[in-house]
């Protein structure tokens, strides 16, 4: 298992850290509790975008809920900027540090006007009103929803609602945001807008992001991919390292991006292409390098029709 980034960094750089994390939900009487998380060790470094992949039931959402103290470990511990999530006195601080965005935006929006919804958390945190105003406007601009400040959330599209939910989290100015399948209910347009925002949080605002997703295409954009299976971390590496191991991924019930499965097929056909050309552009470039030369010179000889 290739472990990236861990050797060269110290524990102090980790915004989120799970150490020997074990978790089980309360079992039924007379049954042994099944371990949903079975010894997770993971450090998420400041400013990283980490995608967490895993089949349904692999424990990835349960892990996500540990990062802002919605759940507490049965064994081991979880640290958020050094704060132990099992210490109830720190819960509020931890939730200010780590925002969560869930799958269904309808469950996360509480107010009947967009800007009031976004103001909900900073108001609760007791900030002065000009500070709240600045935070709300800033958050709405970040997600491209400033023009909708006075609109009613229920009349927005799914993608727009999800962006409002993200703004509500950003208004707390968290150091870290955990997204639990934020695009699962969105159409392609909404998905693209949300994914772009997630990437820019990391690149432009320096926010640390954990992105739980089933979409391999989204994971390509991450700095690092963590694969979970049966409550453990089973793969950990850069997207190119992870997606060039299609057999291992399939063994964990996951797929590879369409680009990789095409490249894999082309290699079977005898084309000399790398597996790691993950985006459509990279993939097209790789194919051009492998087959383009021969074919184009064939064209010039006039042998290829159409």
């Amino acid at each position: 298992m290739p472990v990236v980034y861990s050797a060269q960094r110290g524990a102090a750089d980790a915004v989120l850290r799970a150490e020997g994390l074990v978790f089980s939900y309360k079992p039924r009487e007379g049954e042994l509790p099944p371990r949903v998380l079975d010894g997770v060790d993971l450090s998420v470094w400041r400013g990283q975008l980490v995608a967490v992949l895993g089949h349904n039931g692999s424990g990835k959402s349960t892990l996500a809920r540990h990062f802002n103290a919605l759940l507490a470990p049965v064994c081991g511990r979880v640290l958020v900027d050094g704060m132990d999530t099992s210490d109830e006195k720190l819960t509020l601080d931890i939730r200010r540090h780590v925002g969560m965005v869930f799958q269904n935006p309808d469950n996360q929006i509480v107010a009947s006007v967009v800007e009031e919804d976004v103001a909900f958390a900073p108001e609760n945190l007791g900030y002065p009103s000009d500070e709240i105003r600045a935070r709300v406007d800033g958050a709405l601009r970040t997600v491209g929803m400033y023009e909708y400040a006075k609109h009613a959330p229920h009349l927005l599209s799914g993608g727009q609602k999800q962006r409002v939910a993200i703004a509500g989290v950003l208004a707390m100015e968290p150091k870290c945001v955990v997204f639990d399948e934020p695009t699962a209910m969105l159409d392609p347009r909404g998905r693209e807008s949300v994914v772009n925002i997630i990437r820019s949080l990391c690149d432009d605002l320096g926010v640390t992001v954990v992105l739980i997703t089933h979409h391999m295409e989204e994971a390509i954009l991450a700095d690092r991919i963590v694969v979970m299976s049966e409550g453990r971390v089973v793969m950990d590496g850069r997207p190119r390292e992870i997606f060039t191991q299609p057999d291992a991924l399939q063994g964990y019930g996951l797929g590879v991006p369409e680009t990789v499965s095409l490249l894999r097929g082309l290699r079977e056909d005898g084309f000399d292409v790398p597996l790691g050309a993950l985006t459509a552009d990279e993939c097209a470039d790789a194919i051009m390098t492998a087959v383009g030369g021969a074919v184009l010179s064939g064209c010039e000889n006039g042998d290829v029709a159409d």
Partner: protein, 288 residues
């Protein structure tokens, strides 16, 4: 062949006459043949969800007519009721609608409503469970004991148990992992093969359509703006992306190769298709 389902100029207006008046469908005419596999795409608000609900009578369009086997589904009360069983509709996230104490009872709900006797109901439940790969011991469990993927399949089985002649599903794979998604698609394929049913699937996955559908129907602004075999529809990449929709990855890569000067023919929608085209080019170049 006569279409099994047909809509003739259906228009649907929500909250007509109020400030919230909204035209969800305008003048939609559509036909589906027996055994056809149709993919429906369109972004949120394009009218596709309203449309599929008109097909089994859940939504009565403001104007226009829906036909099943050539007759108006509103011809009589009995007819409208009958259509609910003949045109099965699986909603988005159907697993949240499971409510019975056991998976068996949940799947049995539809066939019981049809007035079948206990023996027939049990037969329908076992048959439907088989299509979606639920085991005998799963049937006695509470739906809440099943994993998310199995729960989804139990919900689909509840519709299959009515043996619908048309099976409509609204994003049946949303939120599932890749393995779970392929299983559901395979289950639906198995039902179609063994019964000859028509399948209509609303999806955001262009890959799913490229691999399975005979036809893709594109909704935009409450109208059908494209209705063609996938290869023909996906060759109109620019129009689709203007509507906020994409094309399969293989099509996107083929377009890029063409832009880079490679003489790749149009109509490529799957990785296999692109592989074949590239092998073909290599043969041509080799003989030069």
């Amino acid at each position: 062949m006569a279409p099994v389902i047909k809509t003739e100029k259906i228009t649907h207006i929500y909250s007509a006459g109020t400030v919230f008046e909204h035209t969800a469908l305008s003048d939609v005419s559509f036909e589906a043949l027996r055994g056809e596999y149709i993919g429906i795409i369109g972004h949120t608000g394009s009218g596709k969800s309203t449309f599929i609900q008109t097909l089994n009578g859940l939504i009565r369009p403001t104007s226009g007519t829906v036909f099943f086997d050539g007759t108006d589904i509103r011809q009589s009360k009995e007819r409208t009721r009958d259509i609910r069983f003949k045109v099965g509709l699986v909603f988005q996230y159907p697993e949240y609608q499971l409510f019975e104490e056991t998976v068996f009872n949940d799947i049995a709900f539809g066939p019981k409503n049809m007035g079948l006797n206990a023996h027939e109901v049990a037969e329908r439940v076992r048959e439907a469970a088989g299509f979606v790969g639920l085991r005998e011991d799963d049937l006695e469990k509470s739906p809440f004991e099943l994993s998310g993927g199995l729960r989804r399949r139990a919900a689909i089985a509840g519709v299959i148990a009515m043996r619908p002649e048309v099976l409509i599903a609204d994003e049946p794979t949303a939120g599932l992992d890749p393995a779970g998604s392929s299983e559901i698609i395979a289950n639906i394929g198995a039902y179609r093969r063994s019964t000859g049913a028509t399948i209509i699937i609303v999806t955001h996955s262009m890959e799913e359509i490229a691999q399975n559908a005979d036809r893709v129907t594109v909704f935009d602004g409450g109208r059908i703006v494209m209705d063609a075999p996938p290869a023909a529809a996906f060759s109109r990449s620019d129009e689709l992306s203007a509507m906020g929709l994409g094309v399969p990855a293989a099509t996107a890569i083929a377009n890029r190769l063409r832009a880079r000067g490679l003489p790749i023919a149009g109509g490529i929608i799957t990785a296999d298709g692109l592989r074949a085209a590239l092998r073909e080019l290599r043969r041509g170049a080799g003989s030069a």
